[in-house]
Symmetry: C2
Subunit: 697 residues, 2 copies
């Protein structure tokens, strides 16, 4: 893809001396592009002092890439000519394709076919193209006035699906003047080049330190996940359409299947991706992650807060607490060093309120002492520094202090308020040192959280995806599956799970009452009896479950009732009654974007109220499954709530890993529900299950 | 307090020609204050062209107010002189008082005594004073350079407890240049003038449309609540120290009792106050509320989103959904009007993606049509408009469109991105029209939520605080209470609740087995037996509860066991066993800031996991109690979960209202726990309770 990013020569098709996009693109090229610039427009001999050719065929070497900005109907032929001329890539910035009516869709289909037939790579259409801040390459029709003002070279690259948004957002970033970018790619309708192609390139791009993507759909879900997992660089995704109404809007906007929000959240985390919520916040998270890309996953986020304002210190503590980080307990050494600059009446504590000390000993001495003390403190993982810049620029000595502190290796975050110009200058200066600066306190703490979260997620994302050795007998599950289709009954479903090595409750299918009584004798009371009938999945609703049968009399009555309900072709299932307690649910589904996925969550009465579930793409290792369990919100329930034994996490993880292996290796399985898994001494046993096979399974 | 805000003359004590705070105050006065300016400093004859007096006594009329900025030890004597001279108020901006060591505390105590003795009002010390943007009064030592740059007259007034924070934050707001303020009050150590005094003034201040307060503690809690309840103007509070660690920091910072975060949240909502989370966000919420102060409480927040970017529309839908607002279902008329400007291939929907229509019919026609259509639509409560301002200023015609739309009366919010200067200009222009503008999309939706929330809260806050007529027999509860103290046992506790009109389970205390069996015969099985012993509150932990006793044999065994445990001075309580189901908890406590408060929440297994409780200050009316119940997060459980009958909200509200009346009228009650209230056909019955009386009760 270097022909897009580092072409030796570019041909601009649609160059014009009129004040339109074609002229803006030309000006942008002349201003920043250091390769050959060729123009094509049959109506002119030259534009803005550069010779203009009538056709692409006439354009001399070197020419690796074309930028096309002409009427939509003319585009397919021009692209064909580009392919004939040996041009390797085209950025089509014209609109009027699949985002419009049937004619536009037909035009886009033609482009797709040309790409497939000739191998030429097509970027767009309906996009704002590409900006490379380091090289000053602006392959886009954004006005040159805009990017002159504030395009700052940084190491965050962005990929933005929505066309207008990319333009507006880019302009916002550029003119804000405090956020550096590396490359910004507006990918438009994605007729050929898509987010995966670009992500693959950016992961290898030496100028890119972190990648942020705004996406409405992830159609090549598996490829996307594998790229994210393989990336050493932090990746941040802002996924539009996670609510029901947002998903509906996504469908009408780019005909994107937004997918189930909870599945997206689970698999992105599994792949080491940090999710963002809003545009500028994504940018803020990206630049923070780019500055601290490789923290140890074991860090807890114990934070020292250095402040000039007790009030801001208090709110910082509130925010750290609410986002799962913590206010560090300073070591005795740190307290002692702080006491050396504090007034006598004030005991040092964290948040470290420096103002009284500053009044006594001056800003430099106090900030210097405090910064070096917390940097040396083994109880401190990160430092949040509050700065105030008044009418004058930040003192050079203060900059030096922060530069040295940054070298100590712990992440430093700065919350800065003050006068407009000096504050902006201070922000740019500190960010050049690799210290992220925020103008809102909560945003600073949010980004701290993202940095520690990314470290944890990244350490998981590199885990082997599967179990290594076969955890169960594939042949046997294959045998059990063969010849079946549709929704299987509970008993059949559990046979498959058992073959996959998942613990299931002891049960037997019986067909008459004497057999039922004999089986019961062997199993021992109390028992559960369930009616099985073809096509009935929801047994509770159909009143086909009898719990807690304690003797022959109760069993007999239950049996007769169930037989009545299921009819002559049904049967009755007898199971050991397991003691009540915390219930777990697990399951698998085939996601339209990510393929086979597994789920684990809290079941029983908690399932509907807490809605506490975690998804991941299959296959998952036991380690990955442990991480899923650890990500459930209500850890208190798993830890042995109300004198219950704690959940055997390893055993539960094994169930999830095996379930994932089952669906991963058997494409015919469409959906699996283990609802519930009861806990026997903390260890999960499946007492009800449903497996749905694809109709051709 | 007009002598602080509109003094006819001011004396500045501590005027100096040296480049220090005293000079900055003088410059600020000369630049904006239109009354008489007098100076006091015995070391100079004149400063900056104004005569300087040796003492306050010499200062001629008019002089209503003094600003003091001298060494801390000199302050008490100067304040005494001010009182003698007939000056009514002093803003003490010097530091070195209670925020420092014992000497400072002693100085502050002297100030307190002078205020009490002479009636002079003291503002500060250790504060940044007062800024009035409309009058250009800057009674503060902030540098004049700062406020020249961007002090914009607006209608949001701020009260900020923390001194440094007020200064920094004020500077930030001022130099940002897009946020107007009315008055900013930095109240520092609050030796005399406190947040309640200022709130009282600002509620009546014609230049103030909304008030934002950053507070670490609310020591005059009841007065504060009453002021908020009486205010027609929106009030926003950012409360520092709501987390445990934040509260600890608040304690060391200003020796403030931050109070229980959940209690603070409940009582503030009860008083109609919207809570903010961060500084700038508080400002954003304040200016939004000031623009839409009197919406109908019945509006649901059904929002039309007008956007130029499908992507931003999708995210808007996600945000509306996550914040409890909704994407409006457009009426057929609106869809038809939109279709008139849309291209044929695109069906209008909400979010309303205008870009394809703009390409066809131009921005003005399309935005004009869309704005008037949604303004006329009865299904639309509010409009979120996405705007993009490129290199040029926003067109005048576009401003006119928005101005007319605003007149239609529905709240309009604008999310704006674009080039720095034109975007800033557009923001100022739109805000002048009363349309709030945001640079981050989530913040825009957050502020929309705050506007609708405020309308709902305000409608509740004006409800009568008590029940009007006595809901129960005060004399009887008084009789039951008389002569008791400390923690009462369950039976005694329930007698009090019953006297207050709260339904309690039928129960009898028995002292020997034959009596127990006789009582049981009368009550009917199944029964509960509980052991009562002095000093044992946690009966479960002491194994003093026997549930589900179904016959004489079980009762006899339980009785013997319990008697064994409680000893000869204990007794046994028999109760009807109520059917298991959803459990509710309620209670009352004496909050250090707000006095008697009540609580309602989910009990039983849910209590610990969901932590879903709502507090309010007593007394609460039944209507207010209904609102508390409606504010619980897990409404699904109350609505009749899993075939249970729905909670009888009116009956539960009655319990809370009566409980609140009980603690409000009986000061001797320190704490009450109703845990749980079981539901009998949805109606709450208290089955266990504990009342703790103050030791002198």
């Amino acid at each position: 893809m270097d022909f897009f990013f580092k072409p030796r020569g570019i041909v601009l098709v649609g160059a014009t001396p009129k004040p339109k996009g074609g002229l803006a693109i030309l000006w942008n090229l002349k201003k920043g592009f250091d390769g050959a610039i060729h123009l094509v427009n049959p109506n002119y001999r030259e534009v803005d002092g550069i010779a203009c050719h009538a056709t692409v065929a006439e354009v001399p070497d070197p020419v690796d890439m074309a930028i096309v900005f002409v009427k939509n109907t003319l585009v397919p032929e021009i692209v064909e000519k580009c392919a004939e001329r040996g041009i390797r890539g085209v950025i089509i910035e014209s609109a009027g394709f699949a985002e419009t009516g049937p004619e536009g869709r037909a035009l886009q289909e033609r482009l797709k076919k040309i790409a497939a037939d000739t191998g030429i790579r097509l970027w767009g259409p309906n996009c704002m193209g590409l900006v490379d801040a380091k090289r000053k390459y602006v392959f886009s029709f954004v006005s040159p006035v805009i990017w002159e003002e504030g395009l700052i070279d940084g190491d965050v690259s962005l990929v933005v699906q929505s066309g207008m948004l990319a333009g507006g957002f880019l302009m916002d970033i550029m003119t804000h003047g405090t956020m550096g970018v590396a490359k910004v790619c507006s990918i438009g309708n994605k007729v050929d080049v898509n987010e995966c192609d670009l992500l693959e390139y950016l992961i290898k791009d030496p100028d890119t330190g972190a990648v942020g993507l705004y996406l409405e759909s992830i159609p090549q879900g598996r490829r996307f996940l594998d790229l994210c997992r393989s990336s050493k660089k932090p990746i941040v995704v802002l996924k539009g359409g996670k609510s029901a109404r947002g998903a509906a809007a996504a469908l009408s906007h780019t005909a994107s299947m937004a997918g189930d929000g909870a599945v997206v959240t689970g698999v992105l985390a599994q792949a080491g991706v940090v999710e963002a919520q809003d545009f500028k916040q994504m940018m803020d998270i990206c630049r923070s992650l780019a500055m601290f890309p490789r923290l140890s996953p074991d860090l807890q986020g114990r934070t020292a807060v250095l402040t000039y304002s007790g009030g801001a210190g208090i709110l910082s503590a509130d925010f750290l607490d609410s986002l799962g980080l913590s206010v560090a307990d300073l070591s005795p050494e740190t307290v002692e060093r702080l006491a050396g600059v504090y007034p006598d009446w004030m005991p040092p504590a964290n948040p470290v309120d420096l103002w009284p000390a500053v009044e006594k000993n001056g800003q430099l001495k106090v900030y210097g002492t405090a910064l070096s003390a917390v940097m040396d403190d083994p109880n401190v993982d990160a430092v949040l520094v509050h700065l105030f810049v008044g009418g004058q620029a930040m003192a050079l000595e203060m900059q030096d202090l922060l530069r040295s502190a940054k070298k100590a290796g712990k992440p430093i975050f700065v919350w800065l308020i003050g006068a407009r110009k000096p504050a902006r200058d201070a922000q740019v200066c500190l960010q050049d040192m690799g210290i992220p600066v925020f103008r809102e306190l909560f945003r600073a703490v949010e980004c701290m959280q993202a940095v520690f979260r990314r470290a944890r997620l990244a350490s998981r994302a590199v885990l082997p995806a599967g179990n290594g050795e076969r955890a169960f007998d594939t042949i046997r599950t294959g045998e059990v599956l063969s010849g079946k289709s549709g929704a299987l009954d509970e008993h059949e479903s559990k046979k498959i799970l058992a073959a996959a090595g998942i613990p299931t409750v002891h049960e037997e299918k019986v067909t008459d009452l004497p057999q039922a009584l004999a089986v019961a004798e062997k199993m021992g009371y109390p028992l559960v009896a369930k009616g099985l009938a073809a096509g009935i999945v929801h047994k509770t609703e159909a009143d086909l479950i009898r719990l807690n049968l304690t003797d022959e009399r109760e069993l007999s009555r239950a049996y007769e009732e169930l037989v009545q309900k299921v009819g002559p072709r049904g049967s009755v299932l007898l199971q050991k009654q397991l003691p009540a307690g915390l219930e777990i649910i697990a399951g698998a589904l085939s996601d339209p974007q990510f393929g086979p996925c597994v789920m684990v969550g809290l079941g029983g009465i908690y399932a509907e109220v807490l809605n506490d579930r975690r998804f991941a793409a299959a296959p998952v290792s036991e380690e990955a499954a442990l991480a899923m369990i650890g990500d459930l919100k209500n850890q208190k329930l798993l830890a042995g709530f109300r004198n219950a034994p704690p959940v055997d996490r390893r055993a539960l993880a094994q169930v999830i890993a095996r379930l994932s292996e089952l669906v991963w290796t058997n494409g015919s399985i469409g959906q699996v529900d283990l609802n519930p898994l009861m806990l026997v001494n903390g260890s999960p046993v499946c007492v009800d299950a449903s497996v749905v096979l694809a109709e051709n399974g």
